[in-house]
């Protein structure tokens, strides 16, 4: 049984006859499980460079049956007949006209009909911010018009994917990877793998931009090495704050499961639970108040001494001190901002500053900041919390270009309604509303956030930076 009684009851045939819709039980990742549970369709519109590499990736991942399709604007694609498929991938990166967009529709319409429960629709779309030709300034009027049409079409994918994500049923998701034109196919592999896998169970309706990877070129995941697939974070050192419970404990366990050595950090008062989490993960516990003046230095000294470097820093620690703004006292405001934002700013500044020996953040450093959909949509009674979480997003966007030079990325994850001790204490009505107002009609689990951290923490995810990824089942809040 889960926390979600209604979802459990809705699995029962009798309950369904009463008219209660079946709330899907999402497939979650377990080590060694196959990437997909069935066949896949990989299509391409026009001159996309990604379809072939994606097919190769799927074959290596053990997907036996990969249908190849090329869509045209002229006729409906040939994907309309046949068995259910676990995934539909479309390379639409070269689409720049309305005709091309029409071809996308002709391809997707029959394809989504065949999507199995828990299926994945992943579209690789063009980048609306790319300039087109480098010498665009001297272009003729016709070329300008074409550029504008391309930008419009590229943005159109946003609306298309967010809408189809709301139409899909039975735990299926739809996401868009916006791929900039200079990107080599290998750079999208880790993202394709994540969005097709069960790891992204609660990530739906999201748009993620994949650019040219920062830092040194990374080998693709060793697809022939089974251990690298089971332990994609092997050899990496991760720090997780707020690790004693809830989402932080799940992040610690998940990164350790994937092979990382994890330093689990939490306030000294939470040390008992922290020790349990760290021991279960085969990691170490660091009792540290991240708001202490010397916290950043102590954290950096610790990882330098114990590991020599850090590859993944997860800013997960966060607190709430809810009060309507009219009744907000300075203590509540300051406490929330100190933990949720100032500590992240201070630690990131120290990580970015480097040091005499080049800094403790490795040259494939990945900083992942836990924000919140409250920071995007706002939430009554949470001016302090939402301000801090929105601030995290601003920090991520400002730091991404500054960290790129040293090979590091920084991204934000905005969890929606996640089933934790905290949400279990909400009043029933509020809790039920929070759970259901998303495309998957249920709350996410802490592990859903953790899996997303794992993807962003990969050395191979260097093309994803400055992004905000919501783990919210496509919540209607802040959409």
């Amino acid at each position: 049984m889960s926390n979600d009684t209604l979802r459990d009851l809705s699995q029962n045939g009798l309950v369904q006859k009463l008219g209660v819709p079946r709330i899907p039980v999402l497939r979650r990742h377990s080590p060694g499980a196959p990437l997909l549970t069935g066949p896949a369709i990989v299509g391409v519109i026009g001159a996309g460079r990604f379809a072939e590499p994606v097919r190769a990736l799927l074959k290596h991942a053990g997907v036996a049956d990969v249908e190849s399709t090329t869509g045209t604007a002229g006729a409906e694609g040939d994907t309309g007949s046949g068995d259910k498929v676990a995934a539909v991938v479309l390379d639409a990166t070269s689409v720049s006209t309305l005709d091309g967009l029409a071809a996308v529709q002709r391809f997707l319409t029959p394809a989504v009909k065949r999507l199995a429960p828990g299926g994945r629709l992943l579209v690789l779309g063009p980048d609306p911010t790319s300039d087109g030709d480098a010498d665009a300034t001297a272009d003729a009027t016709a070329d300008v018009a074409a550029d504008v049409e391309a930008a419009a079409v590229a943005q159109a994918f946003d609306g298309l994917i967010r809408s189809v994500a709301k139409e899909l049923r039975a735990g299926a998701t739809a996401n868009l990877l916006v791929v900039s034109p200079q990107v080599q196919p290998a750079a999208v592999d880790s993202s394709v793998r994540f969005f097709l896998s069960a790891r992204s169970a609660y990530v739906d309706g999201q748009v993620v931009r994949v650019g040219v990877p920062v830092g040194p070129a990374q080998d693709a995941v060793g697809v022939d090495d089974p251990d690298e697939i089971v332990h994609p974070l092997a050899g990496r050192v991760a720090v997780v704050t707020g690790a004693a419970r809830g989402i932080g404990a799940a992040i610690t366990a998940t990164l350790a499961r994937d092979g990382a050595a994890v330093v689990a950090v939490d306030i000294p008062a939470a040390g008992e639970a922290l020790a349990r989490v760290a021991n279960a993960a085969g990691g170490t516990a660091l009792q540290l108040d991240i708001t202490a003046p010397d916290a950043a230095q102590r954290l950096i000294d610790h990882v330098r001494e114990r590991h020599g470097r850090v590859d993944v820093v997860v800013h997960n620690a966060g607190i709430t001190r809810d009060k309507l703004l009219a009744n907000m006292d300075p203590d509540r405001w300051d406490a929330v901002l100190a933990v949720n934002l100032r500590a992240q700013l201070t630690i990131n500044a120290a990580l970015q500053a480097g040091g005499p020996d080049g800094g403790v953040l490795s040259d494939t450093g990945r900083i992942v900041c836990v924000a919140s959909t409250s920071g995007i949509a706002g939430n009554r009674g949470q001016t302090n919390y939402a301000a801090s979480k929105a601030g995290v997003i601003g920090m991520v966007r400002a730091l991404a270009p500054r960290l790129a030079g040293r090979g590091a990325t920084i991204n934000a994850i905005a969890p929606g309604f996640i089933e934790t001790e905290m949400t279990a204490k909400m009043p029933l009505g509020t809790r039920e509303a929070g759970r259901r107002i998303n495309s998957l009609r249920q709350g996410g689990l802490p592990v859903d956030v953790a899996e997303t951290v794992g993807w962003l923490g990969l050395a191979e995810s260097g093309g994803v930076t400055g992004q905000v990824v919501r783990v919210c089942g496509q919540s209607m809040l802040g959409a």
């Binding site: 689990a264 000294p268 008062a269 939470a270 040390g271 008992e272 922290l274 020790a275 349990r276 760290a278 021991n279 279960a280 085969g282 990691g283 170490t284 516990a285 660091l286 009792q287 540290l288 108040d289 202490a292 001494e305 114990r306 590991h307 020599g308």
Partner: protein, 436 residues
Amino acid sequence: MTEKRRAAVIGGNRIPFARANGAYAKASNRDMLTATLDGLAARFGLADQRIGEVAGGAVLKHSRDRDLTRESVLGSRLAPTTPAYDVQQACGTGLETAILVANKIALGQIESGIAAGVDTASDAPVALNDDLRRVLMELNGARSLGDRLKAVAKIRPGQVVPEVPQNAEPRTGLSMGEHAAITALEWNVSREAQDELAAASHQNLAAAYERGFFDDLITPYLGVTRDGNLRADTSAEKLAKLKPVFGKGLGDGTGATMTAGNSTPLTDGASSVLLGSDEWAAAHKLPVLAHVVDAETAAVDFVHGTDSHGPDGLLTAPVFALPRLLARNGLTLQDFDFYEIHEAFASTVLATLAAWEDPAFAKERLGLDAPLGSIDRAKLNVTGSSLATGHPFAATGGRIVATLAKLLHEKGAGSRGLISICAAGGQGVVAILEGA
């Protein structure tokens, strides 16, 4: 002396100490020791690792606590292939385990080890009345119905009174506090000096907590995050108001200087210290805080005395241990940056210091031409000691070793620290650590 390998103190972990019958009232020695080992494992990444050995012990033990340390290891996250054994030397247990482990490391017999101690005064071993126990043993051994009936007939109402462990010396019948009061009077330790020492202990401990000193020395347990005995706002003036509890019959009342405030309360708690060779620490990327230089244990005749002098004070053995240790290492009492003298009672610390300063005592009893002299009191128990933390007997040594090692590491390589712990049975353990 040839250059020998020295054991490194890598770090420690303890649970906050709690007053007896308080937060840990329902926790057993094994519960507390296991939690302490788990906290140590988490701090240093020892989960599922085989450690050379774990030496631990408790002063108050149930009969079920046979091989308490091994059973705690089996319940912990350490690899079950980690051997363990129990040690018992009253309040010297915790330091003695550290010495044993350090010596094995120095000899190259093991590369890593954990020294530990635990005690509960709440879950104390109340045993069957001894008369009743004999009857039941007889009943158990009886072969015929007649023999059994004969044994049962020996059961008497008075036998329901249980055997309760006494905080008293078996050979003198005096409590430890009464023994300490005798020594305090002998050395003319004043009430004011005791209260000042106690107040400083609380203030130093509180300040150490405030600066985060214990963040990597303590793991909370059962919701307790700080030592329950700590009174951050106490002062010598407040402590002066307490009524004496020991020595009331001594010296026409002048011996009544010891109160609940300048004596340690009965306490529950556990501590552990991770030791290893420098190579082992480096291979595991673990810090070396300090090295164990040397140690000495002494014992005194507190029962009879001799023709030339009366019985020695029960808790004065460290007075005799230290000169031997200093001589062997070519050091003087003033060669230390920190002094950790266990505060069984404030008067014990002060009497010990007085004995080291006394020329006549040095000559007559220690066989020295000159006394060891006085110490800089600003270097004494700088992060508090047992009067503030409380004193779970066998856990005190581990608390002090880990605390001192961290202090020495902060001070820098080559700094020196002295530990002195008095124990029941007229024993005392002293040791030297050097900062790394």
